[in-house]
């Protein structure tokens, strides 16, 4: 953790301009990822996790998506100002992504071997038989039995877990320094989920790759991540080392999230689902976006945007009542 962060996202703002409404999907997200670490992004559905990830890969379709502000630096390079063709040279080679639904994310009409080999061809690293053989090696590395013959198969011939392994093989093919995994296990059976997480973690450790793990699953975050960023309504509301944040949250939303999940906070604590639903991102409430659902909410929360509070060194929370939550939560 001595050198500069591999990724710095600063005050990123993304909006979708559709018809009359502007959906503010990401409203000033900031976080960093150090090389070699696993950073988790945690948050409810619709909080802007995938949009943030897609913005980093520059995969958002514009229109309707627009970067309304902020910057993204990858290895010190401001990527949003790079010509897209130049950024594509980084994609796959230095930064890669595993998507949630491998069934739709893999091309149905090309063999999986071809799709992996394509990475070597697209980046001018290998071609022909050589590329094919490397694809087979990768399939073997992600634990697909009989890789030489499986390479000729198509997506629909694989089980969900095997498909996600193929996706992972593609993502690690060129040894990227940063891997973004967007809910890599949500589409899978519980038993398979654990295997995939284990695979990702071991591959990450082997090559000392950094990883952004986007997930709903608190136990996965607790198991594998070093740092966590909790997102709500397009903002990172709390950030810090995993053990600290999950052990003793300082944002009312993080606390509510932990209380809503069985066993997240040890035995004996009561289950308390978060009331209400996430805000309409075209009409985000004034003050703190979480105030209508928050049991700590005061007039201050309803009127003023909360400041970024440094709870302990290296930990921040955007909550008017951070201290109160931190001390008696």
């Amino acid at each position: 953790m001595s050198s500069a962060p591999i990724l710095e996202v600063e005050n990123l703002q993304i909006e979708f301009r559709t018809g009359r409404d502007t959906v503010h999907a990401v409203n000033g997200v900031s976080f960093q990822v150090e090389s070699g670490e696993t950073a988790a992004i945690l948050g409810e559905s619709g909080s802007g996790k995938s949009v943030t990830a897609s913005a980093i890969m520059r995969l958002l379709q514009s229109p309707p998506a627009f970067v309304a502000g902020g910057s993204i630096r990858f290895k010190g390079q401001d990527i949003l100002s790079l010509p897209i063709s130049q950024w594509r040279d980084y994609c796959g080679r230095e930064i890669a992504m595993v998507f949630q639904d491998a069934l739709t994310s893999l091309n149905p009409v090309f063999s999986v071997g071809w799709q992996i080999a394509e990475l070597f061809k697209a980046h001018g690293i290998a071609k022909g038989r050589d590329a094919d053989n490397r694809a087979i090696e990768l399939l073997e590395r992600v634990g697909i039995p009989d890789p030489a013959s499986r390479a000729k198969d198509y997506t629909h011939q694989f089980s969900g877990g095997m498909r996600q392994r193929v996706m992972i093989a593609m993502a690690i093919a060129l040894g990227p320094d940063l891997l973004i995994a967007d809910e890599p296990t949500t589409a899978l059976d519980v038993t398979v989920q654990a295997q995939i997480m284990e695979l990702l973690e071991s591959l990450r450790q082997d090559s000392n790759m950094a990883m952004i793990l986007i997930t709903h699953d608190l136990s996965v975050v607790a198991d594998v991540a070093d740092n966590v960023a909790v997102m709500y309504a397009g903002r990172v509301v709390e950030r810090g080392p995993v053990a600290d944040v999950l052990g003793r949250p300082a944002h009312a939303y993080t606390l509510a999230l932990l209380d809503s999940v069985p066993q997240a906070r040890g035995k004996g604590s009561k289950l308390r689902p978060i009331v209400g639903s996430p805000p309409d991102l075209a009409r985000i409430p004034k003050g703190c976006a979480f105030n209508p659902r928050c049991r700590f909410a005061s007039d201050l929360c309803r009127n003023e945007t909360p400041p970024i509070v440094e709870v302990t060194p290296g930990r921040t929370a955007e909550c008017h009542h951070a201290e109160q939550v931190f001390n008696d939560g």
Binding site: R88, G92, R93, S105, F110, M167
Partner: protein, 305 residues
């Protein structure tokens, strides 16, 4: 697969028999060819002789039995008009039609894929809007009207192109353009719609995340998926092109199968009508098989069922 093709062949066989029946009896409703082929003042004797020679004196059902027997021996009869085997005439005319239709179809597919794909890449953009309007106009313009206007404009007024007949490339321009209008216009719309879907798909996102170049994203990843619906429509249009060829060949005096068919119908040359229709129907059947096979080759999900 074999079973599928077998079923397909059986269905087509039944359809072909129905078609032959209909054609055989319908052409005979158009009138007696004797009047057309003999001088008005021909004696009753001569008329009887002509009718007997071609079997027109017997009941239509009996003629049909004889016809079936001949067909089973590979004999499609003699053209009344040309005094040559009808099959020979058809096989002579076919290459000309196939060349015309083949060039028109290939050009339509290539251009439609390019135009449709580029339009879908920036939906609502200037190129997309112009190409959408142009393709709609092309698909809905009546081809005989376009053909005649084309002749008047480019052949008569400007004298850039010949009015009719066949020869080197200037003779091909107008017939091909007229023949292309509908398939091109319709296919641009199909390509555009299926490319819109393909380009918005998750696998295209994956390809970009892999660092694949944008031209490959469009013309390999997206187009290869869009091909499935393009092939289906292209197949239907290719069949429709045979109908278009009848009009175009007649207007441009193109010595193909379409013109042969029309002339034969007008002159009550029954054996030639029957031969052109049987050969055309068989060609359409074969083309459908090719399309099915192509479809299976293109979609691995069907292949493995």
């Amino acid at each position: 697969m074999g079973q599928f093709l077998g079923r397909r062949a059986l269905h087509s066989g039944i359809a072909l028999i129905g078609l032959i029946l209909a054609v055989f009896f319908l052409v005979r409703l158009t009138g007696d060819p004797t009047d057309l082929y003999l001088p008005i003042d021909a004696s009753l004797e001569t008329r009887k002789e002509f009718a007997e020679k071609h079997g027109f004196d017997r009941p239509a059902t009996e003629q049909f039995v004889v016809f079936l027997k001949d067909v089973s021996e590979g004999d499609l009869g003699y053209s009344l008009r040309k005094q040559r085997p009808a099959m020979e005439l058809v096989l002579e005319a076919y290459p000309t039609t196939l060349a015309l239709a083949g060039v028109a179809m290939s050009l339509s597919i290539i251009l439609a894929v390019l135009v449709g794909a580029i339009g879908a890449y920036r939906p609502g953009g200037v190129f997309d809007r112009i190409s959408s309007i142009a393709s709609l106009a092309g698909a809905s313009a009546p081809d005989f009207w376009v053909a005649i206007t084309g002749i008047l404009l480019f052949a008569v007024t400007f004298r850039w192109l010949p009015t009719s007949g066949t020869g080197d490339w200037p003779y091909w321009v107008l017939p091909i353009v007229v023949l292309m209008l509908r398939p091109f216009g319709l296919m641009v719309q199909v390509v555009r719609a299926s490319m819109l879907g393909a380009l918005a798909s998750a696998y295209v996102k994956t390809a970009r995340a892999k660092g694949v170049r944008e031209t490959s994203v469009i013309f390999v990843h997206a187009l290869r998926n869009a091909c499935l619906s393009i092939v289906t429509v292209a197949g239907d249009l290719a069949v429709g092109l045979i109908n278009g060829a009848v009009i175009v060949e007649t207007v441009f005096g193109w010595p193909g199968v379409g013109k042969l068919m029309i002339d034969a119908v007008i002159q009550r040359d029954f054996p030639t009508v029957q031969a052109t229709i049987m050969v055309t129907a068989t060609a359409i059947f074969l083309m459908n098989i090719v399309i099915d096979l192509l479809y299976v080759a293109l979609d691995p999900r069907i292949r493995h069922q």
